[in-house]
Symmetry: C2
């Protein structure tokens, strides 16, 4: 399988593509590709001429206690899946090319990074924003595709693009789900059979809150409580947040108003596996 490791090489491929008026689409990943990623690659292929997929497990977005070391890595398998889904080039840089000795620059997309995921993983979005900015200056894509499953990450990256004037179009693709509604995730493979069965509760909790909203509920605390109540039915679940916010800026009004675009957001541990999910609803 053919990987590109060198920064100069992938940049030249991108520049040569653009010289030939080919639109360059980019899908940054940490590998462990599943159908969710593949749908992003397929989307990129649909709307661009050349698709670059990066596979790089970014240490800066893991905290010390998190699962960096055991994060699943299988470059050969990932590359095969990516190529089958339409990738033209796989960029898998060496860690010392991305973070050389003495590396010391950090990027923070403030405000939007601070609530929800940012509260429970304080360094997470700084690590994500920094590595994405680096990958964007390396790959110089015309467009990038990210998955809605990491909704707050989508907000952070689209704001990063806007605030730093990257000439890049941002595309968000819908979450891909298992048949019981569980959002596809690289971390799902950590679930035991029993846990896997119970994990469908996240989607059910989102659906129940959505139903209440469709029936007229607009009180944010009540909407949140509906999700909490449902999640508590699984005793192995420890909720970090199950909440709702305005989708554009994650602000949290007391009541939602007609026409508001609202995001329901869940993060919880099912025993030792951290799961997140979300759903967007227009009131």
């Amino acid at each position: 399988m053919n990987f590109i490791e060198k920064i100069e090489e992938i940049r030249e491929i991108s520049r040569n593509s653009k010289k030939n008026n080919l639109k360059v689409g980019f899908v940054p990943t940490m590998g462990a590709l599943h159908q969710g990623h593949l749908s992003l690659i397929e989307k990129a292929k649909e709307i661009s001429d050349i698709v670059i997929v990066s596979i790089f497990v970014n240490p800066k977005q893991f905290a010390a206690h998190e699962d960096l070391d055991k994060y699943p890595r299988d470059l050969e398998k990932d590359a095969k899946l990516a190529y089958e889904s339409g990738a033209d080039f796989i960029f898998s840089p060496n860690i010392l090319d991305i973070y050389p000795v003495g590396y010391s620059t950090s990027i923070n997309v403030n405000v939007i990074s601070e609530s929800f995921e940012g509260e429970f993983r304080p360094h997470f979005f700084g690590g994500v924003a920094t590595v994405c900015a680096k990958l964007f200056t390396i790959v110089e894509p015309d467009l990038v595709v990210f998955g809605q499953k990491d909704y707050q990450q989508c907000l952070v990256i689209s704001k990063l693009i806007k605030d730093l004037h990257f000439p890049i179009e941002f595309i968000m693709e819908p979450t891909v789900r298992e048949s019981d509604g569980l959002a596809k995730s690289s971390r799902n493979q950590y679930l035991s059979k029993d846990e896997r069965q119970k994990s469908g509760i996240l989607f059910i909790a989102l659906e129940e809150a959505k139903k209440a909203i469709s029936l007229g509920e607009s009180d944010r605390k009540i909407i949140n409580a509906i999700m909490h109540k449902k999640l508590r039915e699984v005793k192995e679940i420890r909720i970090e947040y199950a909440s709702s916010a305005l989708a554009d800026d994650l602000s949290q009004p007391e009541f939602f108003l007609k026409g508001d675009k609202v995001v329901l957001l869940i993060a919880c541990y099912l025993n030792k596996v951290r799961l997140i999910d979300n759903m967007i609803i227009t009131i």
Copy 2:
């Protein structure tokens, strides 16, 4: 006089230049151009085909108590000088295009930003790094030229370029001085006639330390003390720092060794005017 205000317009000029195999040089300034800036523009013209000069007083690098409001602004005069020195395009963006409402991304080049200027102006280099990254993604130059007078800024920006993989060559040009050695600076115009006469003491202090080094002095504290003693001869001077460090990373060993590249750094107030200067010496 012809200014370009729109981000898309200056980017298109840069891209069209590069499509025609013209090298694009860039000199970011805050206006109030003096011979120091003009030497940067001349250098850029010498080593590139198209020279873009930005004129943008960046509010993010001023603290609340600093001189943002009274910072000298004369766009017509600056543009005339820049064009006369070889600028092909002047980019003078509107503040709301650079910092739109809701703007919230910040970039920090850590470690190197924390000592000397960073100690006395804690937000300064964050503001500088952020605006430079923004200007680099907007202008997409092949090379940038900065002045040695802001030596620590040169280190911060060249590290920013390296750490974020900007495909930009960094050029540092020597400080341009008045006949008595005072480094040219936009802030020199704030000096009264008497202060202007006394301000030459910074250069003399640097020269005395340099002389001591050339005579064999290698003890950092003694080198620093020589500069302090000289500066204290002017009673209107309040020293912020008068110090020495290894030029590459600003680390401060007890003794310098043969072959070390050392930078002497001074920042002080002469009454209300803040002056900085530096000198690089190989031991």
